[in-house]
Amino acid sequence: MRRDKKEDEDGGNPFYNLEKSTVLQEARTFNETPIKIRKCCHILTKILYLINQGEHIGTTEATEAFFAMTKLFQSKDVTLRRMVYLCIKEMATISEDVIIVTSSLTKDMTGKEDQFRAPAIRALCRITDSTMLQAIERYLKQAIVDKVHAVSSAALTSSLHLAKVNPDVVKRWVNEAQEAVSSDNVMVQYHALGLLYHIRKSDRLAVTKLVSKFAKHSLKSPYAYCLLIRIACKLLRDDDSGMDSPMFDFIESCLRHKSEMVIYEAAHAIVNMKQTTAKELAPAVSVLQLFCSSPKPTLRFAAVRTLNKVAMTHPAAVTACNLDLENLITDVNRSIATLAITTLLKTGSESSIDRLMKQISSFMSEISDEFKIVVVQAVKSLCMKFPRKHSIMMNFLSSMLRDEGGFEYKKAIVDSIICIIEENPEAKEVGLAHLCEFIEDCEHTVLATRILHLLGREGPRTPQPSKYIRFIYNRVILESASVRAAAVTALAKFGGHCEELMPSVIVLLHRSQLDTDDEVRDRATFYVNVLQQKQAALNSAYILNGLQVSIIGLERALHQYTLEPAEKPFDLKSVPLATQPLAEQKTAAVGPGETPGVKATEKVAASRQDIYAEQLAAVPQFANLGPLFKSSSMPLELTESETEYSVRCVKHMFPHHIVFQFDCTNTLNDQVLENVTVHMESTEDFEVINYVPAPSLPYDKPGITYTLVRLPDDPTQVTTSFTCTLKFVVKDCDPNTGIPDDDGYEDEYVLEDVELLVADHVQKVMKPNFAASWDEVAEENELEDTFALSTMKTLPDAVKNVIQFMGLQPCERSDKVAEGKNTHTLYLAGVYRGGHDVLVRAKMVLDDSVTMQLTVRSTDAHASEVIVSAVG
């Protein structure tokens, strides 16, 4: 960003100082006759530039400029006219009445000047709405089969765009598209195939036929071949069909095509398939291997980049290419070299690591940040694979940390180090030391606070906690407010965990009570006061493990509390819990396969419960249920797919009640359902006390009905199964208007059963310092039992199942079982309905099957009992 500006100031960009109002003023030149061609071209360029810079042009100004521009149709100058087409396209959505140029464009697309025809088609399709499409349909159909390739291509690609809004009209052009597929021009054939596929896309059988047909009739265009491979891949993926499918045979046969592009596409497709085995992979890998020694850098790059990916999932398959990859280490193209080395790192043996690392260090400074990140990730996965090599890797990573590099690069390194520390306890101290050194001179606040958070969590539990204090305290003196605040919190954790450090920590925190920043001061004051109580339980709850409520929920609850002043103090237990502690949410490392986008949706999911809470609060029947404790995360499908009605169930748990929410959709367009409810019956003492019907369910408009159930008085009776029936009044209606008849009749529809499980009564809560919480809850309600999990043949299976049954949060990364171990301890934490902490320690031993010694602690005796019963 900064660089861009500099270049502009240097005069590199003649448009740098463009002003919208001046340019629009200049656009009036278009009205003058005779037309000044060069000048007008220049002004059009400026308008295009402004629009592409994201400059907002109001409708009135845009329309004025647009109409002025239409007058340029007087000139026959080719360049000017083509600039006009471009501007029409860009202004199509910001100006009014753009259809004014319809006839002019139609004339150009059917005229004699070939240079006008293709771009006129593209512009025309951009300004055409559904009502206009009829009028130009005839011309477009002709253009698709035009003998001028550019015209045909333009018509085909434009059709694809039009199909987004007018699928039905475009479907009628299938014959023309069919004809164009047999064109001898590679682009036309490719575009025509694209359109043909698009038209048939939703018809699986037709697509299958399409692929089979063209797979046989060898197509001329390599582009079309590539597309066909992609279509075949999608079919394979959607059908979940195996490698014996004719689709796979087709893709495989493309490995022997004469065009490199097609060969690469096929190889790329095969290596990216989900269930490929070594057998299918081998031929694909061997063509990539050939490409590795191609004289064309693009092919070498493509090959090594793909091999790099394969190496993550099938390292063994890539080993065959090791020799070729070795040769690429010295490739003049550094991107290729980097990918080659990182691939080798993934496939190579432990013994080759030192050599490769040395080699890569020699040119680290020459490659871009983007590729440095690739290297960092390779190093990270190597650490996971060869834990014994962690010290070399750590050294390497830490020297990278010291080098120049942007935020993303530094973040990747820090992520990797943290990830290694968490996976491998032996690497912890070295890793923390490197990170301590890094924050001494770190310009990225986000990274500094993240590392401080980590130091606070891990540091106190190392053999020599005191050595971290200095690094942390330095931050308190030297850094910005947010870093100081993070440092204060980290310090407090040392005080809370290590008794011998507490006095000195209190002294240090006292100093921060004079800080200039409110947040820092408040935190220091809070921690000093908690620490001075000298109570382990307080330290655990308020310093080591922290707040576990949903922040949005807390904000809402507090707001509500201030609106209706009450005598009794605010009860934190009335606030819904966060599904994950906030700090974890923000900092969770992004794995190699995940994209940041995936993370974003997770954040939304975390506040899903807050949305439910708001919706439920609006239903008067639920006014006295108390705070919402938990909403189940995945809706249960209570109907098969593609039946008349679709019903999904979400369970909302309250202190003594449960609300079943049914999201219903009516998929029949000739019916309207009214007064829709779901009747539920259970053999146990679960009593339905209220129904909130969905008043009306028109076709395809989802509606909600609720069923309110009171939980039995016996606190240990928490699980049951409900039979469910959808009840409603049916009224027939006219599918076109949706207006129902006056008379209806009652009807019902049987749904799948809904189970109520132990997991529905508990909310996951992460305890960053499990041991402290364990002591905090104490032995009072402890229950212990031993179980033989005879169906569990491996520890990871047992761990997975226990977590699922109990619905608790695994802590201390105990959900991961170290490879080759036959004992494991799982730590789980959560809160039971009613706000009782629940902690579980499950010691497992693998013999033939898994035996588990389960210890449950809770602040409530019944909660312990229920949790133990989840396994029994």
Binding site: N31, T33, T70, Q74, D97, S103, S104, T106
Partner: protein, 187 residues
């Protein structure tokens, strides 16, 4: 080419350009008339209802014309005004067999005459009472009565019956317009 153009102009050989706007209700024959006026090589065989506008060029003995052939359909008529300001003259085409819509044409004419970009200018207006070949076509006199063309005092106008298919009447009209414009443009 550029050199030749200027040389030609200097010698007074090149024809001056005049911009006219061609308006009138839909289906009155505007596009057909212009097509007839165009040189043989750029004629089109199929005339379809215009959407928006088209630019057409044609020559007369003294002038070269650039004509904005506007769309006459109701919903596009409000777009005509964008092209008023730069035009030197107006061609208003009537379907002389469409008696029912004569009053609509009259409304449009009045709107044109009262438009801010037109009202105070001495623009020549040429009326074509087109489709004279049809059996129930009104005479040009009848048309001008129905439109109350006589009331136009501050602008030169002329009306002639025409048949766009044969070209009958077109030359007469265009010659009148040329004579009117020659004076203006050479000033």
């Amino acid at each position: 080419m550029g050199f030749f153009n200027t040389l030609a102009q200097w010698l007074g050989m090149k024809k001056k350009n005049a911009n006219v706007i061609v308006i009138g209700l839909d289906n009155s024959g505007k596009s057909t008339i212009l097509n007839k006026l165009k040189p043989e090589e750029s004629k089109r065989h199929d005339i379809v209802p215009t959407i928006g506008f088209n630019v057409e060029k044609f020559m007369t003995k003294a002038l070269s014309f650039t004509a904005f052939d506007m769309s006459g359909q109701g919903r596009y008529r409000n777009l005509w005004e964008h092209y008023y300001r730069e035009c030197h003259g107006i061609i208003f085409v009537l379907d002389s067999s469409d008696k029912i819509r004569m009053s609509v044409a009259k409304d449009e004419l009045n709107m044109l005459l009262n438009h801010a970009d037109i009202v105070s200018r001495r623009l020549p207006i040429l009326f074509f009472a087109n489709k004279m070949d049809l059996r129930d076509a009104l005479s040009s006199v009848k048309c001008s009565n129905m439109l109350e063309v006589e009331k136009i005092r501050d602008k030169p106008w002329h009306i002639c019956a025409s048949n766009a298919h044969t070209g009958e009447g077109l030359e007469e009209g265009v010659n009148w317009l040329t004579d009117q414009l020659k004076v203006v443009i050479n000033q």
